[in-house]
């Protein structure tokens, strides 16, 4: 985007418009005010000394009768000029200091960075005092002091920007071509970092103006008979009891100028940072969206003493182009001690299903359901301490990323024992004892020692064990594990799966495993739910899965699983076509566009999830298939012939 385009983007916000108007107004004032009001600001009037506000002098007069409004307006020029000069000094010293290291050798680069670091350690006021002493208090010393003081910030900014440019391919190419360092700096580095530096200059002018006013206010900046806003403010301060309007002019001027320059800089920066963002996907036709979100009544499986019953669970997110529904009215049960796997590609809604059961769907997502019963207790509806206790003690969550899911600032011991302290009302010492027991239960070595450690001191597999132990601190009846092994390496994956299985056997807890890997699911689970585009398309016993699932999507997933005999030199089987876009789903079966068996009915009418002739098998397909799946290996061999 060009500079002009950037300015136009900045002007789209009200702040940007106001700030630009302010800067333009100040600039015009700086040029014309001394010509128009110069005389009024200069001419003493012995008959009106130290007056308050009047029609003739809105802000009153000073000690020799000069009009204070005129003086405030005229002072715009000096205030602005000094601020610009200050920034020029700062950028003039800082930008070269920051740019040089990229084109100099490593040693000089380090030295320049060290100088910048040292200079950043001293505040601007010290420099102002130092130079004020040497040069005498006055605008020269103040400009130089504030300029030098702002130089390190410019140097640091340039250094960072230039370092990123210098690492780029074309600078490397320029070095190879033998271009001189000076040429590289001026032809390649500086043009590429000019824009952010210009942005920074705008903000810096605002700061310089405020700082310079401050120094003048102290008597270290502009000296009489010259005057800027800071000086005018000082002169009016001792009259604040009798003529407060005298202070009003310079106060307003300083605040407006500060707001205008900072506001413009901020708007420009915001425009610059958002312009690289990606365009929104085109809006889907309203009809398809509506059809896609229409609930399709699923058969609800019967189960003895279910731990969890879900009916018509829907998760909706509002977006700028209307609501999207990543989970569309799904129904399933988890029996006592049963291990159920939810399998699907990313975007199928499986993780949101898990989060919605735990009431952890992030705002602005909304969850609705006909029924969500956990341990015979309705979970949907308003939050209550009672429900929190049930969820906190009986439902355990295990998340995917072990590096981010444990709190890095808290010791393992605290993260374990707090659950028991809050919900089990255990005393601290008892909670700690239980924490040690649970760490032992997840086969973590030296549990007493672990309590005092921080998560970053543990390996990924150990952290996942801790995470499982956290879930065991209550008395879990259901463990929801969202991709618990995906971030771990293969051997550790197997250990964690085995641990989940053992924990289930020992405690009798049910398990809901969310995974994209159907092979992992079949290893641990008794039953598999296959999700596609926010719906369950098949609900099948793990044992029966290998004999042949009915839904073409499940069959495709299964066919893509590599086994030990798979020839790794041949590309893995993948499902043709693109995964569905939840914002733009077809009216009929979401899998139809990728399905070899799709007919006109599939494209028009969404198939409901129906119970098969056998009691526990459910499938949502108009054309269910039979027979075992042709494995990947067999297909490759066929194609080879």
């Amino acid at each position: 985007m060009s500079q002009r385009g950037l300015a136009r983007a900045a002007l789209r916000t009200p702040t940007g418009v106001l700030a630009l108007a302010g800067v333009v107004l100040l600039t015009v004032l700086a040029v014309v005010a001394p010509m128009i009001w110069g005389d009024a600001a200069r001419t003493p009037d012995v008959e009106h000394l130290l007056e308050g506000g009047s029609a003739e002098h809105p802000l009153g007069t000073d000690n020799i009768g000069r009009d204070l409004l005129a003086r405030t307006l005229v002072a715009t020029r000096l205030s602005l000029v000094l601020a610009v000069l200050t920034v020029l000094v700062g950028a003039g010293i800082g930008v070269p200091l920051g740019a040089l290291p990229t084109v100099l050798g490593r040693r000089s680069a380090r030295a320049a960075a060290a100088v910048t670091d040292l200079a950043l350690a001293y505040p601007a006021l010290l420099l102002a005092i130092f130079l004020g002493v040497i040069l005498g208090a006055g605008p020269e010393a103040a400009v130089l002091a504030l300029g030098i003081a702002s130089a390190p910030a410019f140097a640091r900014l340039t250094q960072t920007l230039a370092a990123s440019v210098a690492g780029s391919d074309y600078i490397a190419a320029a070095h190879v071509l033998g271009l001189s360092r000076r040429r590289i700096l001026f032809r390649h580095v500086l043009p590429n970092i000019a824009e952010p530096i210009i942005l920074n200059v705008t903000v810096a002018i605002g700061y310089a103006l405020l700082a310079m006013s401050g120094l003048s206010f102290l008597g270290l900046g502009v000296q009489a008979p010259s005057y800027d806003w800071g000086r005018l403010l000082t002169e009016s301060l001792d009259r604040i009891y009798v003529a407060p309007e005298a202070a009003l002019g310079p106060c307003i001027a300083i605040v407006v100028a500060g707001l205008a320059f900072n506001g413009l800089g901020e708007s420009l920066a915001k425009a610059a940072s958002t312009r690289t963002s990606y365009a929104r996907p085109p809006a889907a036709p309203a009809g398809s969206r509506l059809a896609a979100t229409l609930p399709v009544a699923d058969d609800v499986p019967a189960a003895d003493e279910p731990v969890l019953v879900v009916e018509g669970l829907t998760v909706t997110f509002p977006t700028a182009d209307g609501a999207i529904t990543p989970v569309r009215g799904i129904s399933f049960t988890v029996g006592d001690g049963e291990r159920v796997g939810i399998v699907g590609e990313s975007g199928s809604g499986k993780s949101l299903t898990a989060l919605s059961l735990a009431r952890l769907v992030p705002h602005p997502g909304t969850v609705s359901a006909d029924r969500v019963e956990f341990l015979g207790r309705e979970l949907s509806g308003v939050r209550s301490t009672d429900r929190d206790r049930v969820l906190g003690t009986s439902m355990a969550m295990v998340f995917q990323d072990t590096t981010t899911s444990l709190n890095p600032a808290l010791r393992i011991g605290v993260q374990l024992s707090e659950v028991a302290e809050v919900h089990g009302e255990l005393r601290r010492s008892d909670a700690r004892r239980r924490a040690v027991e649970r760490l032992r239960a997840v086969r973590l070595s030296g549990p007493e020692r672990r309590l005092k450690q921080f998560p970053h001191e543990l390996s990924g597999g150990m952290r996942q064990r801790v995470m499982i132990a956290v879930g065991l601190m209550g008395e879990p009846r259901l463990i929801i594990a969202d991709e618990p092994t995906s971030a771990l390496d293969v051997t550790v994956q197997q250990q964690i799966l085995r641990l989940l299985k053992e924990i289930g056997d020992e405690t009798g807890a049910s398990c809901l495993l969310i995974t994209h890997d159907i092979a992992v699911a079949t290893e641990l689970c008794d039953r598999i739910l296959v999700m596609y585009a926010g719906r369950i398309v098949e609900d099948i016993d793990a044992a029966r899965l290998w004999k042949g699932p009915a839904h073409p999507y499940t069959r495709a997933l299964l066919a893509a699983v590599p086994d030990l005999e798979t020839d790794r030199s041949v590309e893995l089987a993948s499902i043709p076509g693109r995964p569905p876009d939840v914002a733009d789903l077809p009216a009929g079966c979401a899998f139809a566009p990728r399905c070899a068996f799709a007919t006109e009915q599939c494209r028009q009418e969404a198939p409901p999830l129906r119970i098969d002739e056998t009691d526990s098998h459910r499938v949502a397909c108009w054309h269910p298939q039979e027979g075992s799946v042709v494995t990947h290996q067999a297909r490759v061999e066929t194609e080879a012939r």
Binding site: L118, A121, Y122, P123, A124, L125, L126, I129, F130, G132, V133, I134, L135, G136, A137, L210, S213, G214, F217, L218, G219, L220, L233, L237, I240, Y241, P244, A247, C251, I254, V255, G258, L259, N262, A358, L360, P362, H363, P364, D388, R389, L391, G392, M397, F399, D401, T404, S405, L406, N407, P408, A409, L410, V414, E418, V422, H423, F454, H456, M467
Partner: protein, 329 residues
């Protein structure tokens, strides 16, 4: 390139990262202090023309000039002057202030406590309020909720962060001091006199810091470990104070350090608005009156204060946050 077969011998830095870090940081500060020391000493020698003549005025008799030169030690060779200067720092002999005719150490001892109290109270007020306001705003506007409140928050804080402390001071003097007569507008013994200066000194930083705290908090609230904390169904108090707050510690400490250093400058301005008998008014008077001995001492003191604060904050950061990358600097 190091071959994989021969392990690199672990250096001191690798074996004792914290100790190495402490040593490096302390050495750096000593270097910075030396630079400051030399600058403050050199200051008087860099004044164009004769500083003593400038201080006493063109009509002062030559004998008076010579006497003052001897007082300042300017008739000695340079290296002896520097040695005297440094030894004076340790014995508390910082020369005589030309304006008040009192020993500089006495002036500082009298003025420092009032400044330190003002800055100290302001620091505590700023840290408490900006953390509370920033975290509160983050919880309120999490995940794009309450976009109206967010706009109000960013606009208000943006406005107050831009107003310089001396303008704010003048406005407070007028509205709360002159109009309502609620608080004293200038220094007097007692707590009431602190209200307006502390407010003038803290409102801007509170606005600026609570903005940063909000953004930092939002990042923490979106972290996976906060989802884990929510899955434990802890009371809100524990979720925010135990799980979110410690993760804000690093950025809060960094900000606190920057803030303290910035308060040194802010105090000077605010003291001048409220006629506060602190170091801030002293240093400005000394520069304007060309009272070199006093300006030199105050500059050294303020500079050293800033450096010590920076060091302490860095050290705390390095020790508190086990993962802090600051150790590599």
């Amino acid at each position: 390139m190091v071959s994989l077969a021969t392990p690199v011998p672990a250096g001191f830095t690798d074996r004792h990262p914290t100790a190495a870090f402490l040593i490096r940081r302390t050495a750096r500060m000593i270097l910075l202090l030396l630079v400051l020391l030399v600058l403050s000493f050199a200051m008087i020698h860099l004044v164009p023309g004769d500083p003593v003549r400038a201080e006493l005025g063109p009509r002062a008799p030559a004998s008076a000039v010579e006497q003052r030169q001897a007082e300042l030690g300017l008739d000695q060779p340079l290296h002896e002057q520097f040695a005297d200067y440094v030894s004076g720092l340790f014995t508390g002999d910082l020369g005589i202030s030309s304006t008040s005719k009192l020993p500089v150490s006495e002036v500082i001892a009298e003025r420092l406590p009032d400044s330190a109290r003002l800055a100290g109270i302001a620091f505590v007020v700023i840290m408490l309020l900006s953390l509370t306001i920033g975290m509160g705003a983050a919880v309120l506007t999490k995940d794009g909720r309450h976009s109206g409140s967010e706009l109000a928050f960013t606009t208000t804080t943006g406005f107050f962060a831009t107003i310089p402390e001396f303008v704010l001071g003048v406005a407070l003097v007028y509205f709360l001091g002159v109009q309502l007569q609620a608080f004293p507008v200038a220094y007097e013994p007692g707590v009431a006199a602190y209200v307006l200066p502390v407010a003038a000194l803290s409102i801007g930083p509170i606005a600026a810091l609570s903005r940063i705290v909000r953004v930092e908090t939002l990042e923490v609230l979106n972290a996976d470990y906060m989802r884990t904390a929510r899955s434990k169904r802890l009371p809100a108090r524990l979720t925010y104070l135990r799980h979110a707050l410690p993760n804000l510690l690093t950025s809060t400490l960094t900000l606190g350090g920057l803030l303290l250093a910035g308060l040194v400058g802010g105090t000077v301005l605010v003291e001048n608005v409220f006629a506060w008998p602190g170091l801030g008014t002293t240093v400005v008077e000394s520069v304007v009156a060309q009272d070199y001995a006093l300006a030199q001492a105050v500059m050294l003191l303020l500079g050293a204060t800033v450096l010590v604060i920076n060091l302490v904050v860095d050290l705390i950061l390095g020790l508190v946050d086990p993962r802090s990358t600051i150790k590599e600097l």
